[in-house]
Symmetry: C2
Amino acid sequence: MKPLGPIPPHFASAGNDLLIGGRTAQSLAEAHGTPLFVYDAGAVRARVAALRAALPARIRLHYAVKANPFGPLLALLDGLVDGFDIASAGELAIIAAQGIDPARAGFAGPGKRDSELAAAIAAGVTLHCESAREVERALAVAPSAGKRARLAIRVNPDFDLRGSGMKMGGGARQFGLDAERVPELARHIAHSEAEWRGFHIFAGSQALDADAVIATQAATLELAARLAGEAGVDLPALNLGGGFGIPYFPGDMPLDLAKVGAALAERLADLPPVMAQTALTVELGRYLVGEAGVYLTRVIERKESRGEVFLVTDGGMHHQLAASGNFGTVVRRNYPLAIADRMAEPVAEAASVVGCLCTPLDRLAEKAGLPRADEGDLVAVFCAGAYGATASPSAFLGHGPATEILVDSNA
Amino acid sequence: MKPLGPIPPHFASAGNDLLIGGRTAQSLAEAHGTPLFVYDAGAVRARVAALRAALPARIRLHYAVKANPFGPLLALLDGLVDGFDIASAGELAIIAAQGIDPARAGFAGPGKRDSELAAAIAAGVTLHCESAREVERALAVAPSAGKRARLAIRVNPDFDLRGSGMKMGGGARQFGLDAERVPELARHIAHSEAEWRGFHIFAGSQALDADAVIATQAATLELAARLAGEAGVDLPALNLGGGFGIPYFPGDMPLDLAKVGAALAERLADLPPVMAQTALTVELGRYLVGEAGVYLTRVIERKESRGEVFLVTDGGMHHQLAASGNFGTVVRRNYPLAIADRMAEPVAEAASVVGCLCTPLDRLAEKAGLPRADEGDLVAVFCAGAYGATASPSAFLGHGPATEILVDSNA
């Protein structure tokens, strides 16, 4: 039997029924069909509240749209966070469609096309420029965009986020400008037609170790101050990146948010003068919405093959690539998963939960200890709120995308 | 420097320009924009012709739609192959939309919904049933579908395809019915209201070793004969699976098709009486279209970071998940790739080709030996004809899907 990841603690059950946003998973599946992504507005609100309580009041919270661009979720977040981070003109259109003011957004990402730069400038988005060449292109397109470009520099730091799931800094990278080349470019922007907006320093993501996050934030503040000093420019804004991880796998422990917040407060009490007025932002995607989402899929068949049990579902890796172990993971481990209509039943067997795709890659859980489940039962895959629906190959094998809904027990 | 995979030998250049279907990659990119999938009809025809020449005339060729469901490609294949294999009701709708007769199709895949079974039966599709329960469900829905169900059994063999990229048989599997339980179910179908259509035995995919394919085909024929004999049923049809691989990575050698064909001819000369009239099918997806496709993406920026060169393109893993190393591969290796407008230039440097997604997973080639390329140059990723556009998370980060075109120098 292989262990399952930890179910996020905010989920409760009523008898055998998993509750999501105050409703049973079964009733949601009946009303909306399966496979179904359900995002719990209350869990997102609670997460933002926990962040506001733990982090110094001066810290601005941004939501990284790439984690989950579902419209109603963005509309909810619009009332909760201080801004948005986008990574394409497509994401700019997505936030604009939700009525979100693009002037509250930053745009980072390598390979921005001229048309994307122009659209962002016209909309008042702050560009986190990844290179000197990108700054040059942004300044060149700005006049035709009819607006003053708002330019920040994305810095490739000379450190990374220790223990992070994905390193985005340190060494040679496609992201950002190498730190050592930043001062010259910062001066150039500050003396250009553009509005100088400071730095964006993103060292990694999905870290569960508070000490690693604390060390990275300290190094980020120090690097930003040093670079601004060397450049002789002021520092209107600094995006400190994010990197706050969520527990996916057996043994993962939640990030100690209070510890991160306390350490950050200490740092803020001791900032150099160049940062006295700097708008400090933490950018989070997965940490805000990941644990708020559940993917529900129905068991089409219970199958036994040579002594092993397979629960064949109507969902799969075309919606849950990461849970299948095919998205940036080397060793496949089980996500948190449960039989959503048998929550009170004891573990009865080892079962593999697979999807309906005709490929052996399509596994949602491997030899997991589960109650005995049968045709018609409902499987819940947790931690499905981020990098699920849009980070999966939904056209693969023609089953099409899953329905997504936001449930709100307060609404 | 890390080596690149081998460029399929049918591609030629005119000076610096890569040719695809008789046209320059540059002209195609200018006419249709980038990123762009280009499928070469001539390459598909040549591949089918090579198969017809190598394999015994009795072997029927099927195309596995999952490899690439692009409409014009399906329409082309409709005139070249003897049938189609689909894996969902979605794929049934896709072939029907191309005017392909669904009676020429087989439907395999775990987790077929009742609605999918009904749609397939109504359309005359042969169902490759994955379990006794699925046969039961098919027989139950058939009356309402208004047609006699055509049922075959997908067999989970007690062997796998040695050296295959993906094992689909042997041991406990979600695919097919364990061989030892097949005779009873075969008898049941043969004596039911349904039309008995024989077996489907798929032991693995992406094998480059002719001896492994030969051994699997021999074992498949033997198993099918034995199971039919034990069941005391005739064997109207047998899908031998596919598994023919294509070279993706450095050192990969093409499958020796002549050797496979010669061995199969020997086997067919010596078949038991139960197979005298059996329709024998080889089902291929990747092998038919994989090498016919090229993914073209434009360099947005040439970037140097701490001594390394990055070519940042307007494409990426949202269209080419497999090339990025995030689709069923443990160790990332480079696909074949070239600078499509500098084909005659010598290797000048090691460069990493990355996409425009804001994630370090988005790499199309790592430290590849390439001519010096710059902003505006065109990158060609080869072997992009199968498991590309639809097997990638095209909604990720909002850049949207790539355009796809079929070029035909004979048209």
